[in-house]
Protein backbone atom coordinates (compact mmCIF):
# COMPACT_ATOMS: atom_id res chain seq x y z
CA UNK A 1 0.00 0.00 0.00
CA UNK A 2 1.22 3.48 -0.80
CA UNK A 3 2.25 5.46 2.27
CA UNK A 4 -0.34 8.21 1.77
CA UNK A 5 -3.23 5.87 1.12
CA UNK A 6 -2.05 3.76 4.04
CA UNK A 7 -1.87 6.74 6.31
CA UNK A 8 -5.35 7.81 5.34
CA UNK A 9 -6.58 4.34 6.16
CA UNK A 10 -4.64 4.50 9.42
CA UNK A 11 -6.38 7.67 10.52
CA UNK A 12 -9.77 6.16 9.69
CA UNK A 13 -8.85 3.20 11.88
CA UNK A 14 -7.68 5.56 14.59
CA UNK A 15 -10.97 7.45 14.57
CA UNK A 16 -12.72 4.47 16.17
CA UNK A 17 -13.58 5.24 19.78
CA UNK A 18 -11.69 2.24 21.20
CA UNK A 19 -8.49 3.21 19.47
CA UNK A 20 -8.70 6.85 20.52
CA UNK A 21 -9.25 5.79 24.12
CA UNK A 22 -6.31 3.41 23.92
CA UNK A 23 -4.11 6.15 22.50
CA UNK A 24 -5.10 8.64 25.18
CA UNK A 25 -4.62 6.05 27.91
CA UNK A 26 -1.23 5.11 26.48
CA UNK A 27 -0.04 8.70 26.25
CA UNK A 28 -1.22 9.60 29.75
CA UNK A 29 0.11 6.40 31.34
CA UNK A 30 3.38 6.73 29.46
CA UNK A 31 3.86 10.25 30.76
CA UNK A 32 2.97 9.15 34.29
CA UNK A 33 5.43 6.26 34.40
CA UNK A 34 7.96 8.50 32.68
CA UNK A 35 7.61 11.11 35.41
CA UNK A 36 7.71 8.57 38.23
CA UNK A 37 11.25 7.47 39.02
CA UNK A 38 11.53 3.74 39.49
CA UNK A 39 8.61 2.59 37.44
CA UNK A 40 9.54 2.49 33.78
CA UNK A 41 7.73 1.87 30.53
CA UNK A 42 8.73 -1.80 30.50
CA UNK A 43 7.17 -2.36 33.90
CA UNK A 44 4.03 -0.50 32.89
CA UNK A 45 3.76 -2.34 29.59
CA UNK A 46 4.24 -5.64 31.37
CA UNK A 47 1.55 -4.87 33.92
CA UNK A 48 -0.92 -3.77 31.26
CA UNK A 49 -0.17 -6.63 28.88
CA UNK A 50 -2.73 -8.95 30.50
CA UNK A 51 -5.39 -6.24 30.52
CA UNK A 52 -4.86 -5.64 26.82
CA UNK A 53 -6.19 -9.16 26.21
CA UNK A 54 -9.67 -7.73 26.39
CA UNK A 55 -8.99 -5.23 23.61
CA UNK A 56 -8.85 -5.42 19.85
CA UNK A 57 -5.40 -6.04 18.43
CA UNK A 58 -5.03 -2.50 17.07
CA UNK A 59 -6.09 -0.85 20.31
CA UNK A 60 -3.77 -3.08 22.34
CA UNK A 61 -0.78 -2.25 20.15
CA UNK A 62 -1.60 1.47 20.14
CA UNK A 63 -1.80 1.42 23.94
CA UNK A 64 1.49 -0.39 24.41
CA UNK A 65 3.39 1.74 21.93
CA UNK A 66 1.89 4.89 23.46
CA UNK A 67 3.23 3.95 26.89
CA UNK A 68 6.67 3.40 25.42
CA UNK A 69 7.15 6.65 23.56
CA UNK A 70 5.08 8.56 26.11
CA UNK A 71 7.59 7.59 28.77
CA UNK A 72 10.35 9.16 26.70
CA UNK A 73 8.53 12.47 27.07
CA UNK A 74 7.77 12.16 30.76
CA UNK A 75 11.21 11.03 31.88
CA UNK A 76 12.80 14.41 31.28
CA UNK A 77 10.39 16.22 33.61
CA UNK A 78 11.69 14.55 36.77
CA UNK A 79 15.28 14.81 35.58
CA UNK A 80 14.97 18.53 35.07
CA UNK A 81 12.95 19.41 38.14
CA UNK A 82 14.20 17.00 40.80
CA UNK A 83 17.57 15.81 39.48
CA UNK A 84 16.36 12.19 39.65
CA UNK A 85 15.99 10.54 36.26
CA UNK A 86 12.37 9.60 35.77
CA UNK A 87 13.57 7.06 33.23
CA UNK A 88 16.90 5.47 32.43
CA UNK A 89 16.71 7.27 29.10
CA UNK A 90 16.73 10.61 30.91
CA UNK A 91 19.84 10.07 33.02
CA UNK A 92 21.83 12.40 30.81
CA UNK A 93 19.14 15.06 30.96
CA UNK A 94 19.78 15.43 34.69
CA UNK A 95 23.26 16.81 34.06
CA UNK A 96 22.32 20.03 32.37
CA UNK A 97 18.58 19.99 32.94
CA UNK A 98 18.83 20.30 36.70
CA UNK A 99 21.50 22.97 36.39
CA UNK A 100 19.06 24.95 34.29
CA UNK A 101 16.45 24.57 37.01
CA UNK A 102 18.90 25.92 39.56
CA UNK A 103 19.43 28.93 37.34
CA UNK A 104 15.69 29.47 37.10
CA UNK A 105 15.36 28.16 33.55
CA UNK A 106 13.39 25.00 34.37
CA UNK A 107 10.54 26.10 32.16
CA UNK A 108 12.81 26.54 29.16
CA UNK A 109 14.39 23.13 29.72
CA UNK A 110 10.98 21.48 29.93
CA UNK A 111 9.74 23.24 26.83
CA UNK A 112 12.80 22.45 24.78
CA UNK A 113 12.74 18.80 25.75
CA UNK A 114 9.03 18.51 24.98
CA UNK A 115 9.40 20.22 21.61
CA UNK A 116 12.55 18.23 20.85
CA UNK A 117 10.74 15.02 21.72
CA UNK A 118 7.87 16.04 19.48
CA UNK A 119 10.05 16.91 16.49
CA UNK A 120 12.16 13.78 16.88
CA UNK A 121 9.16 11.57 17.52
CA UNK A 122 7.37 12.84 14.43
CA UNK A 123 10.41 12.56 12.16
CA UNK A 124 10.91 9.04 13.50
CA UNK A 125 7.37 8.06 12.46
CA UNK A 126 7.99 9.43 8.97
CA UNK A 127 11.20 7.41 8.75
CA UNK A 128 9.42 4.37 10.15
CA UNK A 129 6.73 4.72 7.53
CA UNK A 130 9.38 4.80 4.79
CA UNK A 131 11.82 2.19 6.04
CA UNK A 132 9.56 -0.47 7.55
CA UNK A 133 7.86 -1.37 4.24
CA UNK A 134 11.21 -1.38 2.42
CA UNK A 135 12.78 -3.65 4.97
CA UNK A 136 9.70 -5.85 4.93
CA UNK A 137 9.98 -6.19 1.14
CA UNK A 138 13.55 -7.26 1.59
CA UNK A 139 12.67 -9.64 4.41
CA UNK A 140 10.08 -11.41 2.27
CA UNK A 141 12.98 -13.32 0.77
CA UNK A 142 14.10 -14.54 4.17
CA UNK A 143 14.04 -18.24 4.80
CA UNK A 144 14.68 -20.26 7.91
CA UNK A 145 18.45 -19.79 7.67
CA UNK A 146 18.10 -16.00 7.56
CA UNK A 147 15.79 -15.99 10.54
CA UNK A 148 18.17 -18.11 12.53
CA UNK A 149 21.03 -15.81 11.60
CA UNK A 150 18.95 -12.76 12.47
CA UNK A 151 18.02 -14.02 15.93
CA UNK A 152 21.56 -15.14 16.63
CA UNK A 153 22.83 -11.76 15.41
CA UNK A 154 20.36 -9.99 17.68
CA UNK A 155 21.41 -11.91 20.75
CA UNK A 156 25.13 -11.51 20.03
CA UNK A 157 24.90 -7.75 19.57
CA UNK A 158 22.63 -7.48 22.59
CA UNK A 159 25.16 -9.20 24.80
CA UNK A 160 27.71 -6.54 23.81
CA UNK A 161 25.49 -3.62 24.63
CA UNK A 162 23.83 -4.32 27.93
CA UNK A 163 26.77 -3.77 30.24
CA UNK A 164 28.44 -6.31 32.47
CA UNK A 165 31.04 -8.83 31.35
CA UNK A 166 30.71 -10.53 27.99
CA UNK A 167 30.85 -14.04 29.43
CA UNK A 168 28.19 -13.23 31.99
CA UNK A 169 25.99 -11.70 29.29
CA UNK A 170 26.30 -14.90 27.26
CA UNK A 171 25.48 -16.95 30.31
CA UNK A 172 22.30 -14.92 30.84
CA UNK A 173 21.35 -15.25 27.18
CA UNK A 174 21.85 -18.98 27.56
CA UNK A 175 19.72 -19.16 30.67
CA UNK A 176 17.00 -17.17 28.91
CA UNK A 177 17.04 -19.60 25.99
CA UNK A 178 17.06 -22.54 28.38
CA UNK A 179 13.98 -21.21 30.16
CA UNK A 180 12.27 -20.98 26.80
CA UNK A 181 12.83 -24.67 26.17
CA UNK A 182 10.61 -25.53 29.13
CA UNK A 183 7.31 -26.96 28.02
CA UNK A 184 5.94 -28.53 24.91
CA UNK A 185 8.35 -28.43 22.02
CA UNK A 186 6.83 -26.94 18.87
CA UNK A 187 8.36 -29.10 16.14
CA UNK A 188 7.73 -32.53 17.59
CA UNK A 189 5.30 -31.76 20.41
CA UNK A 190 7.42 -33.43 23.04
CA UNK A 191 7.38 -32.12 26.59
CA UNK A 192 10.74 -30.97 27.88
CA UNK A 193 11.85 -30.09 31.39
CA UNK A 194 8.34 -30.23 32.76
CA UNK A 195 9.46 -32.50 35.62
CA UNK A 196 6.08 -34.13 35.41
CA UNK A 197 4.31 -30.89 36.19
CA UNK A 198 1.24 -30.06 34.14
CA UNK A 199 1.66 -26.35 34.87
CA UNK A 200 4.99 -26.36 33.03
CA UNK A 201 3.55 -28.12 29.97
CA UNK A 202 2.49 -24.83 28.42
CA UNK A 203 5.95 -23.44 29.02
CA UNK A 204 6.68 -20.33 30.97
CA UNK A 205 4.19 -17.61 30.15
CA UNK A 206 5.90 -14.42 29.11
CA UNK A 207 3.62 -12.21 31.21
CA UNK A 208 4.48 -13.42 34.73
CA UNK A 209 8.17 -13.48 33.85
CA UNK A 210 8.31 -9.89 32.60
CA UNK A 211 5.96 -8.53 35.26
CA UNK A 212 8.24 -10.14 37.84
CA UNK A 213 11.56 -9.15 36.29
CA UNK A 214 10.59 -5.57 35.55
CA UNK A 215 7.47 -4.69 37.57
CA UNK A 216 7.92 -6.45 40.91
CA UNK A 217 11.71 -6.12 40.93
CA UNK A 218 11.43 -2.38 40.43
CA UNK A 219 8.88 -2.04 43.18
CA UNK A 220 11.17 -3.98 45.54
CA UNK A 221 14.13 -1.76 44.67
CA UNK A 222 12.12 1.39 45.24
CA UNK A 223 10.61 0.04 48.46
CA UNK A 224 13.87 -0.69 50.24
CA UNK A 225 15.18 2.84 49.83
CA UNK A 226 14.41 5.28 52.58
CA UNK A 227 11.56 7.50 51.58
CA UNK A 228 12.98 10.80 50.45
CA UNK A 229 10.69 13.73 50.09
CA UNK A 230 11.67 15.16 46.77
CA UNK A 231 11.81 18.90 46.55
CA UNK A 232 9.71 19.64 43.52
CA UNK A 233 9.85 23.03 41.93
CA UNK A 234 6.50 24.16 40.71
CA UNK A 235 6.39 25.52 37.21
CA UNK A 236 4.21 28.32 35.98
CA UNK A 237 2.92 28.37 32.48
CA UNK A 238 4.46 31.74 31.74
CA UNK A 239 7.95 30.43 32.59
CA UNK A 240 7.71 27.75 29.96
CA UNK A 241 8.67 30.05 27.11
CA UNK A 242 12.32 29.75 26.18
CA UNK A 243 14.08 32.88 24.99
CA UNK A 244 14.89 33.43 21.33
CA UNK A 245 18.53 32.65 22.09
CA UNK A 246 17.57 29.36 23.74
CA UNK A 247 15.48 28.34 20.75
CA UNK A 248 18.30 29.18 18.37
CA UNK A 249 20.73 27.03 20.32
CA UNK A 250 18.31 24.09 20.46
CA UNK A 251 17.46 23.65 16.80
CA UNK A 252 20.77 22.00 15.89
CA UNK A 253 20.83 19.58 18.84
CA UNK A 254 17.23 18.53 18.22
CA UNK A 255 17.92 17.67 14.58
CA UNK A 256 21.27 16.04 15.33
CA UNK A 257 19.69 14.14 18.22
CA UNK A 258 17.07 12.80 15.83
CA UNK A 259 19.72 11.77 13.33
CA UNK A 260 21.73 10.02 16.04
CA UNK A 261 18.77 8.40 17.75
CA UNK A 262 16.92 6.74 14.90
CA UNK A 263 19.76 4.47 13.69
CA UNK A 264 20.35 3.42 17.30
CA UNK A 265 16.83 2.10 17.30
CA UNK A 266 17.73 -0.28 14.49
CA UNK A 267 20.50 -1.98 16.48
CA UNK A 268 19.72 -4.65 19.07
CA UNK A 269 20.10 -3.39 22.60
CA UNK A 270 18.84 -0.67 24.91
CA UNK A 271 18.76 1.77 22.00
CA UNK A 272 17.03 4.72 23.63
CA UNK A 273 19.44 4.79 26.57
CA UNK A 274 22.57 4.52 24.45
CA UNK A 275 21.34 7.16 22.03
CA UNK A 276 21.10 9.76 24.81
CA UNK A 277 24.73 9.21 25.78
CA UNK A 278 25.82 9.36 22.15
CA UNK A 279 23.88 12.55 21.53
CA UNK A 280 25.25 14.24 24.65
CA UNK A 281 28.81 13.37 23.68
CA UNK A 282 28.20 14.63 20.15
CA UNK A 283 26.72 17.93 21.31
CA UNK A 284 29.63 18.56 23.61
CA UNK A 285 32.04 17.91 20.80
CA UNK A 286 30.42 20.15 18.20
CA UNK A 287 29.54 22.91 20.65
CA UNK A 288 31.29 26.27 20.39
CA UNK A 289 31.28 26.56 24.16
CA UNK A 290 31.85 23.06 25.57
CA UNK A 291 32.75 24.53 28.96
CA UNK A 292 29.06 25.24 29.55
CA UNK A 293 28.16 21.54 29.53
CA UNK A 294 27.44 20.38 33.05
CA UNK A 295 26.54 23.91 34.05
CA UNK A 296 23.18 24.13 32.33
CA UNK A 297 23.79 24.05 28.59
CA UNK A 298 20.46 23.83 26.82
CA UNK A 299 22.07 21.71 24.09
CA UNK A 300 22.66 19.02 26.71
CA UNK A 301 18.90 18.79 27.23
CA UNK A 302 17.65 19.26 23.68
CA UNK A 303 19.96 16.69 22.04
CA UNK A 304 19.49 13.62 24.28
CA UNK A 305 15.77 14.24 24.78
CA UNK A 306 15.30 14.24 21.01
CA UNK A 307 17.58 11.26 20.55
CA UNK A 308 15.64 8.98 22.88
CA UNK A 309 12.38 9.69 21.07
CA UNK A 310 13.91 9.09 17.68
CA UNK A 311 15.42 5.86 18.95
CA UNK A 312 12.05 4.80 20.34
CA UNK A 313 10.60 5.20 16.86
CA UNK A 314 13.53 3.39 15.32
CA UNK A 315 13.15 0.32 17.52
CA UNK A 316 9.75 -0.26 15.95
CA UNK A 317 11.29 -0.82 12.51
CA UNK A 318 12.91 -4.23 13.12
CA UNK A 319 9.88 -5.39 15.09
CA UNK A 320 7.28 -4.40 12.51
CA UNK A 321 9.17 -5.42 9.39
CA UNK A 322 11.19 -8.43 10.58
CA UNK A 323 9.09 -9.56 13.52
CA UNK A 324 12.15 -9.67 15.73
CA UNK A 325 12.29 -7.38 18.76
CA UNK A 326 15.67 -5.78 19.26
CA UNK A 327 14.91 -3.93 22.50
CA UNK A 328 13.19 -5.12 25.69
CA UNK A 329 10.09 -2.90 25.37
CA UNK A 330 9.64 -4.23 21.84
CA UNK A 331 9.58 -7.74 23.26
CA UNK A 332 6.50 -6.71 25.21
CA UNK A 333 4.97 -5.03 22.20
CA UNK A 334 5.54 -8.26 20.30
CA UNK A 335 3.70 -9.97 23.13
CA UNK A 336 0.73 -7.67 22.57
CA UNK A 337 0.73 -8.55 18.87
CA UNK A 338 1.07 -12.29 19.34
CA UNK A 339 -1.64 -12.53 21.99
CA UNK A 340 -4.10 -11.28 19.40
CA UNK A 341 -2.84 -13.66 16.76
CA UNK A 342 -1.16 -10.95 14.72
CA UNK A 343 2.39 -11.82 13.74
CA UNK A 344 4.54 -8.77 13.04
CA UNK A 345 6.97 -9.26 10.21
CA UNK A 346 7.22 -8.94 6.46
CA UNK A 347 3.61 -9.96 5.96
CA UNK A 348 2.15 -7.61 8.56
CA UNK A 349 1.47 -4.77 6.14
CA UNK A 350 -0.27 -7.07 3.69
CA UNK A 351 -2.24 -9.23 6.11
CA UNK A 352 -3.08 -6.73 8.81
CA UNK A 353 -2.80 -3.30 7.19
CA UNK A 354 -5.28 -1.88 9.69
CA UNK A 355 -2.95 -2.73 12.57
CA UNK A 356 0.18 -1.37 10.92
CA UNK A 357 -1.29 1.85 9.58
CA UNK A 358 -3.45 2.33 12.66
CA UNK A 359 -0.30 2.19 14.75
CA UNK A 360 1.54 4.61 12.47
CA UNK A 361 -1.36 7.07 12.49
CA UNK A 362 -1.65 6.75 16.27
CA UNK A 363 1.98 7.74 16.60
CA UNK A 364 1.46 10.98 14.67
CA UNK A 365 -1.56 11.81 16.79
CA UNK A 366 0.12 10.53 19.95
CA UNK A 367 3.07 12.86 19.54
CA UNK A 368 0.74 15.84 19.26
CA UNK A 369 -1.16 14.65 22.30
CA UNK A 370 2.05 14.19 24.27
CA UNK A 371 3.24 17.67 23.36
CA UNK A 372 0.05 19.03 24.91
CA UNK A 373 0.34 16.77 27.95
CA UNK A 374 3.93 17.76 28.55
CA UNK A 375 3.76 21.48 27.97
CA UNK A 376 0.63 23.16 29.28
CA UNK A 377 -0.29 20.26 31.56
CA UNK A 378 3.17 19.52 32.90
CA UNK A 379 2.22 20.84 36.35
CA UNK A 380 -0.46 18.20 36.66
CA UNK A 381 2.02 15.39 36.14
CA UNK A 382 4.55 16.94 38.47
CA UNK A 383 1.97 16.73 41.24
CA UNK A 384 2.01 12.93 40.81
CA UNK A 385 5.43 13.05 42.41
CA UNK A 386 3.74 14.22 45.60
CA UNK A 387 1.47 11.16 45.86
CA UNK A 388 2.11 9.02 48.95
CA UNK A 389 4.60 6.41 47.89
CA UNK A 390 3.17 3.51 49.87
CA UNK A 391 -0.24 3.83 48.22
CA UNK A 392 1.32 4.09 44.78
CA UNK A 393 3.47 0.99 45.24
CA UNK A 394 0.59 -1.00 46.71
CA UNK A 395 -1.51 -0.01 43.72
CA UNK A 396 1.21 -1.12 41.27
CA UNK A 397 1.57 -4.48 43.02
CA UNK A 398 -2.19 -5.00 42.99
CA UNK A 399 -2.36 -4.25 39.25
CA UNK A 400 0.51 -6.67 38.66
CA UNK A 401 -0.95 -9.59 40.57
CA UNK A 402 -4.43 -9.19 39.13
CA UNK A 403 -3.01 -8.83 35.64
CA UNK A 404 -0.82 -11.88 35.89
CA UNK A 405 -3.54 -13.96 37.47
CA UNK A 406 -6.19 -13.01 34.93
CA UNK A 407 -4.26 -14.36 31.93
CA UNK A 408 -4.69 -18.01 32.82
CA UNK A 409 -6.53 -17.84 36.14
CA UNK A 410 -3.45 -19.53 37.45
CA UNK A 411 -1.94 -19.32 40.88
CA UNK A 412 1.18 -20.93 39.46
CA UNK A 413 1.76 -17.85 37.31
CA UNK A 414 1.68 -15.71 40.45
CA UNK A 415 4.46 -17.81 41.93
CA UNK A 416 6.49 -17.51 38.73
CA UNK A 417 6.03 -13.75 38.95
CA UNK A 418 7.17 -13.65 42.56
CA UNK A 419 10.27 -15.76 41.89
CA UNK A 420 11.13 -13.68 38.83
CA UNK A 421 10.67 -10.55 40.92
CA UNK A 422 13.34 -11.80 43.32
CA UNK A 423 15.59 -12.82 40.42
CA UNK A 424 15.20 -9.37 38.88
CA UNK A 425 15.93 -7.75 42.24
CA UNK A 426 19.12 -9.78 42.64
CA UNK A 427 20.19 -9.03 39.07
CA UNK A 428 19.80 -5.32 39.72
CA UNK A 429 21.97 -5.67 42.79
CA UNK A 430 24.66 -7.32 40.65
CA UNK A 431 24.21 -4.62 37.97
CA UNK A 432 23.03 -7.14 35.40
CA UNK A 433 20.48 -6.20 32.81
CA UNK A 434 17.24 -8.14 32.88
CA UNK A 435 16.90 -7.51 29.14
CA UNK A 436 19.60 -10.09 28.45
CA UNK A 437 17.33 -12.64 30.05
CA UNK A 438 14.02 -11.58 28.52
CA UNK A 439 14.97 -11.11 24.89
CA UNK A 440 16.17 -14.71 24.40
CA UNK A 441 13.01 -15.83 26.13
CA UNK A 442 10.95 -13.96 23.55
CA UNK A 443 12.81 -14.95 20.41
CA UNK A 444 13.89 -18.40 21.59
CA UNK A 445 11.11 -20.27 19.82
CA UNK A 446 11.72 -18.54 16.50
CA UNK A 447 15.42 -19.22 16.87
CA UNK A 448 15.01 -22.92 17.64
CA UNK A 449 12.43 -23.53 14.92
CA UNK A 450 14.45 -21.77 12.28
CA UNK A 451 17.59 -23.62 13.34
CA UNK A 452 15.91 -26.99 13.05
CA UNK A 453 14.30 -26.09 9.71
CA UNK A 454 17.64 -24.89 8.41
CA UNK A 455 19.36 -28.08 9.46
CA UNK A 456 16.63 -30.13 7.82
CA UNK A 457 16.90 -28.19 4.58
CA UNK A 458 20.65 -28.41 4.68
CA UNK A 459 20.62 -32.06 5.70
CA UNK A 460 23.17 -31.24 8.34
CA UNK A 461 25.59 -29.73 5.84
CA UNK A 462 27.11 -26.53 7.23
CA UNK A 463 28.08 -25.43 3.72
CA UNK A 464 24.38 -24.69 3.17
CA UNK A 465 25.02 -21.31 4.77
CA UNK A 466 27.56 -20.46 2.06
CA UNK A 467 24.73 -20.25 -0.45
CA UNK A 468 22.79 -17.84 1.72
CA UNK A 469 24.75 -14.57 1.67
CA UNK A 470 22.29 -12.64 3.85
CA UNK A 471 22.36 -15.24 6.60
CA UNK A 472 26.10 -15.54 6.35
CA UNK A 473 26.54 -11.76 6.50
CA UNK A 474 24.33 -11.40 9.57
CA UNK A 475 26.18 -14.17 11.37
CA UNK A 476 29.53 -12.66 10.42
CA UNK A 477 28.58 -9.21 11.70
CA UNK A 478 27.21 -10.73 14.90
CA UNK A 479 30.34 -12.77 15.54
CA UNK A 480 32.51 -9.79 14.68
CA UNK A 481 30.66 -7.62 17.15
CA UNK A 482 31.58 -10.11 19.86
CA UNK A 483 35.09 -11.08 18.81
CA UNK A 484 36.55 -7.78 17.61
CA UNK A 485 36.15 -5.86 20.87
CA UNK A 486 37.51 -8.84 22.78
CA UNK A 487 40.61 -9.02 20.56
CA UNK A 488 40.94 -5.26 20.76
CA UNK A 489 41.13 -5.53 24.52
CA UNK A 490 43.71 -8.31 24.34
CA UNK A 491 46.08 -6.31 22.21
CA UNK A 492 45.41 -3.04 23.96
CA UNK A 493 45.59 -3.53 27.71
CA UNK A 494 44.37 0.01 28.33
CA UNK A 495 40.69 -0.24 29.19
CA UNK A 496 38.92 1.92 26.65
CA UNK A 497 35.50 2.51 28.09
CA UNK A 498 33.45 3.84 25.21
CA UNK A 499 29.94 3.88 26.55
CA UNK A 500 29.39 4.68 30.20
CA UNK A 501 27.21 1.94 31.61
CA UNK A 502 23.80 3.51 32.03
CA UNK A 503 22.46 0.65 34.08
CA UNK A 504 24.22 1.41 37.34
Amino acid sequence: MEPLAGLLKGFTVLAAADNLIALTAGAVLGTVVGVLPGLGPIGAMAILLPLSFQMEATAAVILMAGIYYGAQYGGSTTSILVNIPGESTSVVTCIDGYQMTKRGRAGAALAVSAVGSFVAGTIAVVLLMIFAPLLAQFALRFGAAEYFALTAFGLMVLSRLTGGGLAIAFMLVGIGLALKTVGQETMYGIARFTFGSLALWQGLELTPVVVGLFGIAEVLIVAEEKASDAQVHSVRLRELLPTREEWRRSVGPILRGTAVGFPFGLIPGPAAILSTFASYALERRVSKHPEEFGKGAIEGVAGPESANNAAAGGTLVPLLSLGVPFAPPMALLLGAFVIHGVQPGPLLMREHPEVFWGLVASMYAGNVMLLILNLPLVGLFVSILRLPRDLLLAFIVLMSVVGVYSVNNSGFDLMVMLVMGLVGYAMRKFRLSAATLVLPLVIGTLMEESLIRTLMLARGDVRYFLGRPIALGLLAVGIASVVVPALWRCFRPRPAQVTPSPLD
Binding site: E185, L220, E225, A394, F430, R431
Partner: protein, 130 residues
Protein backbone atom coordinates in the same frame (compact mmCIF):
# COMPACT_ATOMS: atom_id res chain seq x y z
CA UNK B 1 26.66 -17.85 39.45
CA UNK B 2 28.58 -21.08 39.39
CA UNK B 3 25.72 -23.17 40.75
CA UNK B 4 23.43 -21.59 38.18
CA UNK B 5 25.74 -22.83 35.46
CA UNK B 6 26.00 -26.29 36.96
CA UNK B 7 22.26 -26.74 37.43
CA UNK B 8 21.59 -25.70 33.87
CA UNK B 9 24.18 -28.10 32.59
CA UNK B 10 22.31 -30.99 34.06
CA UNK B 11 19.11 -29.76 32.52
CA UNK B 12 20.76 -29.39 29.16
CA UNK B 13 22.04 -32.95 28.91
CA UNK B 14 18.89 -34.56 30.25
CA UNK B 15 17.06 -33.44 27.10
CA UNK B 16 15.16 -35.93 25.05
CA UNK B 17 17.08 -36.77 21.90
CA UNK B 18 15.89 -35.19 18.65
CA UNK B 19 14.19 -32.16 20.06
CA UNK B 20 17.07 -32.05 22.51
CA UNK B 21 19.49 -30.58 20.00
CA UNK B 22 18.70 -27.00 20.84
CA UNK B 23 18.68 -27.43 24.63
CA UNK B 24 21.99 -29.24 24.47
CA UNK B 25 23.60 -26.47 22.45
CA UNK B 26 22.19 -23.94 24.87
CA UNK B 27 23.51 -25.99 27.78
CA UNK B 28 26.97 -26.02 26.22
CA UNK B 29 26.77 -22.27 25.64
CA UNK B 30 25.91 -21.70 29.29
CA UNK B 31 28.70 -23.99 30.46
CA UNK B 32 31.32 -22.33 28.29
CA UNK B 33 30.12 -18.87 29.25
CA UNK B 34 30.10 -19.70 32.96
CA UNK B 35 33.58 -21.15 32.63
CA UNK B 36 34.82 -17.97 31.01
CA UNK B 37 33.08 -15.77 33.53
CA UNK B 38 34.71 -17.75 36.36
CA UNK B 39 38.09 -17.22 34.69
CA UNK B 40 37.35 -13.53 34.26
CA UNK B 41 36.27 -13.31 37.86
CA UNK B 42 39.54 -14.95 38.92
CA UNK B 43 41.65 -12.63 36.75
CA UNK B 44 39.82 -9.45 37.63
CA UNK B 45 37.19 -9.63 40.36
CA UNK B 46 34.06 -7.72 39.46
CA UNK B 47 32.88 -4.95 41.77
CA UNK B 48 30.86 -6.19 44.73
CA UNK B 49 27.09 -6.03 44.45
CA UNK B 50 25.30 -2.91 45.49
CA UNK B 51 24.62 -2.65 49.18
CA UNK B 52 21.16 -3.44 50.40
CA UNK B 53 18.93 -0.45 50.90
CA UNK B 54 18.32 0.97 54.32
CA UNK B 55 14.93 -0.64 54.59
CA UNK B 56 16.00 -3.98 53.16
CA UNK B 57 13.66 -5.94 55.43
CA UNK B 58 10.78 -4.59 53.37
CA UNK B 59 11.80 -6.80 50.44
CA UNK B 60 11.10 -10.18 52.11
CA UNK B 61 8.09 -8.66 53.85
CA UNK B 62 6.57 -7.55 50.54
CA UNK B 63 7.28 -10.93 49.00
CA UNK B 64 5.48 -12.54 51.89
CA UNK B 65 2.49 -10.28 51.29
CA UNK B 66 2.38 -11.22 47.60
CA UNK B 67 2.75 -14.88 48.52
CA UNK B 68 -0.16 -14.52 50.94
CA UNK B 69 -2.27 -13.08 48.14
CA UNK B 70 -1.46 -15.99 45.87
CA UNK B 71 -2.24 -18.48 48.63
CA UNK B 72 -5.50 -16.81 49.68
CA UNK B 73 -6.85 -15.95 46.24
CA UNK B 74 -8.54 -19.23 45.36
CA UNK B 75 -9.74 -20.46 48.77
CA UNK B 76 -10.77 -17.08 50.22
CA UNK B 77 -11.64 -15.08 47.14
CA UNK B 78 -10.40 -11.89 45.59
CA UNK B 79 -11.91 -9.43 48.07
CA UNK B 80 -10.26 -10.98 51.11
CA UNK B 81 -6.97 -11.68 49.38
CA UNK B 82 -6.58 -8.21 47.93
CA UNK B 83 -7.62 -6.55 51.18
CA UNK B 84 -4.89 -8.54 52.94
CA UNK B 85 -2.36 -7.71 50.21
CA UNK B 86 -3.04 -3.97 50.12
CA UNK B 87 -3.36 -3.70 53.89
CA UNK B 88 -0.04 -5.47 54.43
CA UNK B 89 1.74 -3.50 51.71
CA UNK B 90 0.57 -0.14 53.03
CA UNK B 91 1.48 -1.20 56.54
CA UNK B 92 4.95 -2.33 55.44
CA UNK B 93 5.72 0.62 53.19
CA UNK B 94 4.11 3.51 54.96
CA UNK B 95 4.21 4.91 58.44
CA UNK B 96 0.55 4.48 59.15
CA UNK B 97 -1.07 2.78 62.16
CA UNK B 98 -2.36 -0.71 61.49
CA UNK B 99 -6.04 0.21 61.49
CA UNK B 100 -5.55 2.87 58.81
CA UNK B 101 -3.67 0.32 56.72
CA UNK B 102 -6.48 -2.17 57.20
CA UNK B 103 -9.03 0.44 56.17
CA UNK B 104 -7.06 1.32 53.05
CA UNK B 105 -6.77 -2.38 52.25
CA UNK B 106 -10.50 -2.96 52.53
CA UNK B 107 -11.34 0.15 50.51
CA UNK B 108 -8.85 -0.70 47.75
CA UNK B 109 -10.15 -4.24 47.59
CA UNK B 110 -13.74 -3.10 47.18
CA UNK B 111 -13.01 -0.37 44.62
CA UNK B 112 -10.65 -2.53 42.58
CA UNK B 113 -13.10 -5.43 42.62
CA UNK B 114 -15.74 -3.18 41.13
CA UNK B 115 -13.26 -1.75 38.61
CA UNK B 116 -12.02 -5.15 37.46
CA UNK B 117 -15.56 -6.51 37.17
CA UNK B 118 -16.34 -3.61 34.87
CA UNK B 119 -13.35 -4.56 32.75
CA UNK B 120 -14.63 -8.11 32.67
CA UNK B 121 -11.66 -9.66 34.45
CA UNK B 122 -12.83 -12.92 36.03
CA UNK B 123 -11.83 -13.10 39.69
CA UNK B 124 -12.62 -15.87 42.17
CA UNK B 125 -15.38 -14.91 44.61
CA UNK B 126 -14.32 -17.42 47.25
CA UNK B 127 -15.97 -17.40 50.67
CA UNK B 128 -17.97 -14.26 50.19
CA UNK B 129 -21.34 -14.64 48.49
CA UNK B 130 -20.86 -11.82 45.95
Amino acid sequence: MYTGGALRYQAGTLATPGPGLFPVSVGVLILVASGFSLLAEYARPSPPPEALGQDWWKVPAMCAAIWAFAALLKPAGYLIASAVLCGLLVFILGRRPWWVALGIGLATAAVSYYFFSLLGVPLPAGLLPF
